[in-house]
Symmetry: none
Subunit: 271 residues, 2 copies
DNA sequence: TGAGCTCGTGAACATCCTGTGACCCCGGAG
DNA sequence: CTCCGGGGTCACAGGATGTTCACGAGCTCA
């Protein structure tokens, strides 16, 4: 989602900066201005999608700096935007790892377009590399596998179920309205009376409970929607649980068990 | 191998073509010259890394042609190299999917450098350690031989089949969506309803299973795509099984078998 | 406490997806 | 020209998944 980017501009030309910043604001891209050479580490920590840089501010260090930066951050889009230059300079810059070279004076719109173009290329290759596992309670959500796990065991979610848990967990702690859930998962607005969200929440709850019975993950907010938050249940007195249960469950029996546990929890005051 | 590229130049400026061709020869890039607009399909079949194009030769069709091409071949690097233009035109071209825009007259060296820069971005994903054998389970994938082996015996994969296993195994553990597999193997975007990926997965599975029956390599993720991971089928001691599982297995029922074994494993140890 | 809405539940139903085998096309070799 | 292997398409069938429905329990408010 979100084609909102994160970029930095390394330049001192106040006119250029002002115009460009205004455009960036309107695009709603996160951006910051740097006034002088910044150590590579610092750039790393900014987690940028792209960097626009005027080599002039770097002085004689420019080439070395550029080379180091590009070597250290091959995923970073680097667009050089600088004054008049020779072919040799441009070729050198591009060979060192710059992704584009724009000659000033230039129109900010073109800068934007070229940055987008550069990032578009990156995105393609990096698309799934950014998938970082999330965890909540006992479950771990792994986008790279389109699946959630408890320990090493897959919960065996379907595509929609996974999308749902991914969405909910991304908003952990916040209540998401049905409408929002629906429109983010289905892509269009929910018609009144549609129960799809509820149904998938139920399926998801079932699977979560089966895989991680001691936790509650999805909480209903009456008249509003759902909230995702891992909450462990009070430990139930073992003597209450008949020892015969854990042995082998027939395909239909988990439900019974789940219900029994629910009753117990209710009784013990967990809610 | 392989900073040797395959590019095409769509232009009519004989001087430009001559100079550029000479440079390309020296770089030992495969290249060809096109004199007029070429249907997208034709470009697809050329299996290019990049295309340099002068929009002037395309006439009024230029924008449509460019848009179609970039949409169909997201992996193709497109560098527009054309005469004087307005900012609006350049922005438009870049937004439509062009990766760079060079204004003539220009130095061929800069064209080369920009093409390289564009391709460098693309390649990142494809730049796995070429020619380094990978192994998974019983199979060894040898890019240098364009073939996979079990022990010393070749699995006898065709070109596409090999490309597929190479792609999948490079992403071992991750789920690859059909669209991604398709676009990386065929080079252009998949049309809905295309079953090519499935068919090649089947062919590959057949050969893998024949060569290495005790392992499963390619796992289906319903509604998403495939995941490559070597998993050995624990061979269950036949004497353990028969009485407890009354069902008779038909000769072709490996799927049943696999499932049953999975169940057993679940039941026997893991919790 | 009761009406009215909301939510959980199970199941039926419709749809979509995938595995599969058969078939067609094409370029190269004989 | 014909044969052949590889690549790609098609239609079918079984299964997995998504969607809808009806019913009952739960929550809120008067």
């Amino acid at each position: 989602m979100s084609d909102s980017l994160r970029i930095a501009v390394l330049d001192r030309d106040s006119g250029f900066l002002q115009v460009l910043s205004k455009r960036l604001e309107r695009l709603d891209w996160e951006h910051r201005v740097l006034a002088s050479a910044v150590p590579t580490d610092a750039v790393v920590s900014m987690r940028l999608s792209a960097l626009v840089v005027d080599l002039a501010v770097l002085g004689p260090q420019a080439w070395i700096w550029l080379e180091r930066l590009c070597a250290a951050l091959p995923e970073l889009g680097v667009v050089v935007c600088t004054g008049p230059s020779t072919v040799a300079q441009r070729v050198r810059g591009l060979r060192l790892g710059a992704d584009d070279w724009i000659t000033k004076p230039c129109h900010p719109e073109e800068v934007i377009a070229r940055v987008q173009s550069v990032v578009r290329g990156r995105r393609r290759s990096a698309s799934r590399a950014e998938s970082t596992p999330t965890s909540a309670g006992e479950v771990v959500i792994r986008p790279d596998r389109y699946q959630a796990f408890v320990g090493e065991r897959s919960i065996d979610l379907t595509r929609r179920e996974f999308e749902l848990i991914e969405l909910l967990s991304a908003a952990e702690g916040r209540v998401l309205e049905r409408e929002e859930i629906y429109s983010r998962l289905w892509g269009y607005t929910m018609v009144r009376g549609d129960r799809s969200v509820d149904v998938f929440v139920r399926k998801l709850r079932q699977k979560l409970e089966k895989a991680s019975p001691a936790w509650r993950y999805i909480h209903t907010h009456f008249g509003i929607g759902y909230r995702f938050a891992a909450e462990s249940l009070e430990v139930v007195d073992p003597s209450d649980v008949p020892s015969s249960i854990p042995v082998e469950w027939e395909p239909g029996d988990e439900r019974e068990l789940a219900r029994a546990q629910e009753q117990q929890q209710l009784a013990s005051g967990a809610l």
